[in-house]
């Protein structure tokens, strides 16, 4: 067996740091999406999950998501070379409706929303969750229309990535890097 060298150790540490950065970014994005999205019963907000493309291991949790809610990633050269390491998705059955991507059916569940109401009025025939017009109706929305598209494509996701990189780099620079 080949003798382990200092270089091997350094490479391994670098890969661990890269993996932690990816996991930190994933956690930030899950929390960002949970923050930005609607919250009536909390089902949708607590259904963000991430899974490792390498082995399919899924990490779940509840808001606020922690680093431990994101699966560990392998440090082999093959896995490090993957373009996609982690996939984030919402596992709620009504996720596409909550993200304003599909029309939905809205029935009062018998209890008030946990999240702040951002709009109240009449939900129009479009059936889109956030498409509520002014008026005397009792329909309420707890996130603005197209909140998901705004988060994903409006620059906020880039901020979450930058913050994740900054946090782990700072830890490493200060010599207090840990894997968790």
């Amino acid at each position: 067996m080949a003798k382990k060298t200092l270089k091997d150790d350094l490479v391994r540490d670098q890969r661990r740091a890269a993996n932690k950065t990816i996991r930190t970014v994933a956690r930030n994005i899950m929390n960002g999406l949970a923050d930005a999205g609607p919250e009536w019963s909390g089902d949708f907000k607590n259904s963000w999950a991430s899974y490792s493309v390498s082995n399919g291991q899924m990490g779940t949790g509840t808001y606020p998501y922690k680093l431990a809610d994101v699966p560990d990633l392998p440090v082999t050269a093959r896995e490090m070379a993957r373009k996609t390491r982690i996939i984030i998705e919402n596992t709620a059955p009504h996720a596409a409706v909550a993200m304003d991507l599909e029309p939905g059916e809205f029935i009062y569940p018998g209890f008030e929303p946990q999240g702040d109401v951002v709009f109240r009025g009449v939900r129009r025939d479009s059936g889109i969750r956030g498409d509520i017009d002014k008026g005397g109706g009792g329909n309420r929305s707890t996130a603005p229309l197209d909140w998901y598209t705004t988060y994903a494509r409006g620059g906020k996701i880039t901020k979450a990535v930058q913050k994740g990189i900054r946090v782990v780099t700072k830890e490493a620079n200060q010599g207090r890097f840990t894997e968790m």
Partner: protein, 151 residues
Amino acid sequence: MNYQGIRAKFESPLLSAYNSLSPSVPVYFDNVFATGKEADDEFIFVNIQFGVTTEATLTTSSNYVQGVVVVRAYAKKGVGPARSQALINTAFTTLQTINATGKPGSGIYVRTGSIDGPSFGTGSTDQESRLAFTPYFISRIETDFTAQVIS
């Protein structure tokens, strides 16, 4: 920051494009009282949202606004996708024209990212579902944008 000016960069051309169709198609924007919508056989709904205004790590300029434009075209349900596709195509060509406009010496300069879609949805056709009563076939495109205010 001239948010209204940035909005106008998208809203004005879209409004003109749909007004110039024959017959013209009503366009509704954010925060416009639009209870007449349901009376229309077809209409367009444009949603512009701002995501980030400053990018301090890249530049000291705060004139770097990012956001998204989502255009939904509502057409009659049950008559095939052709009309819905024609309506959403007007939005697509308008956004492409905006993107091809040169950078001005002053004023507002916008550039869009990739245009995603169109995606189509009718909701459910299940007679027991309230969605079955939605009278529209909806197509949707979205794009992100960055905007600069040049003075």
